[in-house]
Symmetry: D2
Subunit: 340 residues, 4 copies
């Protein structure tokens, strides 16, 4: 149950609401998010919601029977639009392209990538400075210094930065330089990290876990929202299955279903979704037709020399061709009307 | 190793070839298919293929190191085009639509469905008369009588029939009434059935197994081809994963990869791929962008009353809208050029 | 709903029962099995079962809400015991060992294997004469001649034969030479084969599908039983998962759960369950502790020279050690009492 | 490559070694662990290891081609034995029992549980004070205060504490009260947490990820070891598969394989491995036969009232029976000899 509070609700009115919830044995969680304050009530008893909905200080009340509440479309029917400065909008009806290397490697690379993005009208650059690696002996990223270097170049060019955060302690130092925090697949249920990102004033792109369910992804997003940050993007990046012909199995169904279940924007990551360069274009285009609001993909000035993920990274010319195709596919889809 | 034989190869020349293969301890399988005769050689020894390629009676010779040979694009670079009479062509560059009910239920249904297909320019009708069902107590189809009834109506209308065959004994009786035999997911590795369909003069649409790998699907097709029938269509219909939010997980990666690995046409089945009516359109459109040569889907005059699979079946109006969208998506994709 | 009929039920009484079922819109399936006659009623309406249970000619009536009925323990509380001649019993409380090569390869091999089994008190020999192989170019077994050769030797020695049947047409020819028909994982939902084996007077060992669920396995067994053959053994042989470190993932949970859900004997196949020779003993022993009524495993006089599956096949000395350990583990478990 | 250093290696000798590694372009990681100092060299070039092995200050050198090095049995042939004070030993040949509630709930519960453990000779108590929960609205544990309360009671009784740590910031506060840190399945690839636990002087029990591979688990352990802590226990707790009949699929194969690949102790968690109380005993016993060095399981004075995981938690009488059975199974297995 989601109870939207009036802006001017008094402490007494709030207490009366809490009393009511205690009476019916509902656990109450107070959420202060960018667009309003809410009480999330969780319990099992059946009762007449009007008994609460008509209390003073209550703007609206919604039953949501799913395990996730605030991120559900059952409650917030209108899709969430996330604005970055510079007039960038993310969400339904606005097609987002995010591209860049797996890892930030050097100043020269950052410059070349930014030039490539500018030339193609792409305004958000991806890149890792903290890299989760299976082996402790692998390259683990340039860290905060890499991020600062990148930020200098990106700010000048008007390019926004999306990059992965791996632990709570990194957030504060990264905050000034990041436009969108990314939570990687391995941290999709790192609940402390999600809690902490819920208290941050920057959008968060949350990747689905390596074998995460739709439901777990939405509940992970609920962690962020319920801590106060409602600027969340969900990302389908392929799941682990028995098939070993590709790195992951892109779950196109998930894109279609997420667009139905939540008001949050849904981004597709075809680079990890298939993990093989020559199929990234097909998978990206398929993702758009399935309803994705944007694509995040790996590009590199010399994919075969990339520090990581080279086998799934597009060259600049390959990426250029794909950006155009994606925009055409998006336009075709938009022509079909909302929800098709 | 695939050895293409000259049409006029003499018995003596053939024997000399077999001797050569025995010498290098290769197992030889003779294949007589619609477009030629082949010897498939399987063995481990390294040797100079020119020693065989230059023998009299040999047209060409190809090394194919994969477990599948005849269905591989490494050997037959040009994509296979399957022609049905009435000028219908299936394969790269020709977009195929196949639609109809899960099960054939009644004469009235057949008539209504045919009228719907004709009105929309769809020329191939799907429908089951032998239904594989998990439970022995479920409806198992109208059988051969249902097929005959259907055939009467379809022939008049110039509509082609694709329907599932479940066992070797059914083939002969079905043969006069079927345009394309379908092998279902549960029979994808029913090797005796594949052997028998290899000796039939009708095309075969082979579905991927419920948890079949790309490699297993291609080897299953190899069974059919190596028995003499090279008119095979492969069908991606979703795989079994840990995700229970949908019936199956449509494997969009598989479509892209199959188009690269084999010269055979690749058809997508979004109805089973996601198993929920409201997502069939998105998944179908995604499949086209990933490279599918056609779509097979379930439609019904009253989906909620269908004997089986109603929850994943489109109504006629829903299907009409989707046919148009699919053709637009196909045209967009074709504009991107071959292989994009 | 399972309605057990009296032996002397009259045609009129039967018709009256059918009328009653029609009235409540239940589909009725008549089953004539070795131990009695049943009507299986499937429908949705709620009604008082006593209205049927008290009809003349009815021995007993049971509600079974699962998708499988006759194989359920909810109805038949006492576990099924399958007897082979020579005093061999299979089922709860009787530990069964079945061993032999993947494929029957030669007369000498059969003789050596039988000597090995006799020396170790193993009375059932496994071996394939029809082999389902992923590739059409692999060795596919010696066929019916291999079976006859094997039968000659086995009969003399008092050894029973279990071997795989792949298609309906093979049953009749195999019948005189087989003691237990095996249905392989790839045919676990070959419903026509299951139907046909339901009409045969020999026990059937049914393997779980490559990615078959517990429920699907039990429904597959229901096919056999509902066609009249209640002498069925279920076999857990590992499932397909994302883990590639071994051939399959042995599902120990399935053994424990099947023993609870069904009255049929449950056999474990550790050879396929892990697919690596050096772990077969651990997995076999674990299966016994989880509740298996027997073990079927691959042994070969020279595993490294086996035509197929050599990497998961035990040598005779390895097998000897394991037989003893398995019997000790079984005795320990039996000491824990029924269901532990 | 693992290079074991002499205790008295001089800075000059160390520098000479590093020079040699630079020469062959190997990345060197210095590891200071409880039982010695190592340099881990990672690179691609082939070279004669004797050229390094004979340098002064080098005790020994081992090639290890796997992605994990220090945790591999290829290098350390003798199994690791982890000692806790009070004379408790964990590892090959020493059977460990760890039991307790999912969550620590109250002082009374702690007392009852300790009495139960003491009466049964179980010396390690499990229990969560920080609980990873899918939903932000679920009970998340009593936190550090719960741990302190528990510690008071446990120390008096001579019972050791194993409990989950979820984030780096918790380690310091927990350290005085914990005997074994547990890393949960969702944090199995939380690399920062693993790094930090590598610098702690307490053993770590590392659970396999929800869909973690054997290889990923061993590489995760390598993170801990390569940061200096070699007192690691691995834990198989079931994996995510397509089967929904139980919470997870216990991977018995993994236990057998881990015992072969690593010198670290391997613990089985049957409570999560199957997730249903009535099968926990079978799965626990199976795990012992597969080679587990110990069992961690959930027990509760009133399972049906547990705050979490009640459906998979044993009552005290159920647990008592199982402890005895497990010890008997362990003794039987030990009688089979090392590695059986």
């Amino acid at each position: 149950m989601i109870i939207q509070l009036e802006k001017g609700i008094t402490p007494e009115q709030l207490e009366r609401l809490r009393d009511k919830l205690r009476e019916i044995q509902y656990k109450a969680t107070h959420v202060s998010a960018q667009n309003g304050d809410y009480i999330i009530g969780v319990g099992k008893k059946e009762f007449d919601i009007r008994a609460i909905g008509t209390l003073p200080g209550i703007r609206d009340i919604h039953r949501v029977s799913d395990d996730y509440k605030l991120v559900s479309k059952k409650w917030r029917v209108e899709d969430t639009l996330i604005e970055l400065d510079g007039g960038i909008e993310l969400g339904t009806g606005h097609f987002a392209l995010m591209a860049g290397p797996c890892s930030i490697e050097s100043e020269g690379q950052v410059e070349e990538t930014i030039a490539h993005l500018l030339a193609n009208g792409v305004r958000i650059m991806r890149g890792g400075v903290y890299k989760p690696r299976s082996s402790p002996y692998s390259f683990r990223g340039l860290g905060i210094d890499g991020l600062k270097l990148w930020y200098e170049k990106a700010r000048e060019a008007g390019i926004k930065i999306i990059t992965e955060v791996m632990m709570v302690e990194q957030i504060e130092a990264m905050l000034p330089y990041v436009d969108i925090f990314q939570v990687g697949a391995r941290n999709s249920q790192n609940f402390n990290l999600l809690d902490a990102l819920g208290e941050v004033g920057k959008p968060v792109l949350l990747k689905r876990g390596i074998s995460g369910t739709i439901d777990e992804l939405l509940q992970a997003a609920e962690y962020i929202f319920s801590n106060g940050n409602e600027r969340i993007l969900l990302c389908e990046r392929g799941i682990r299955t028995y098939e070993t012909a590709y790195r992951n199995t892109m779950d196109i169904n998930a894109i279609a279903m997420l667009k139905e279940k939540t008001h949050l924007p849904v981004i597709a990551d075809p680079s990890h979704g298939v993990g093989l360069r020559r199929f990234v274009d097909k998978v990206a285009l398929a993702s758009v037709m399935a309803g994705a609001d944007g694509i995040i993909m790996e590009v590199h000035e010399q994919p075969e020399k990339a520090f990581s993920d080279g086998q799934q990274t597009l060259s600049f010319p390959e990426a250029e061709r794909l950006y155009k195709q994606l925009r055409m596919a998006f336009n075709l889809r938009e022509g079909f009307g909302p929800g098709f």
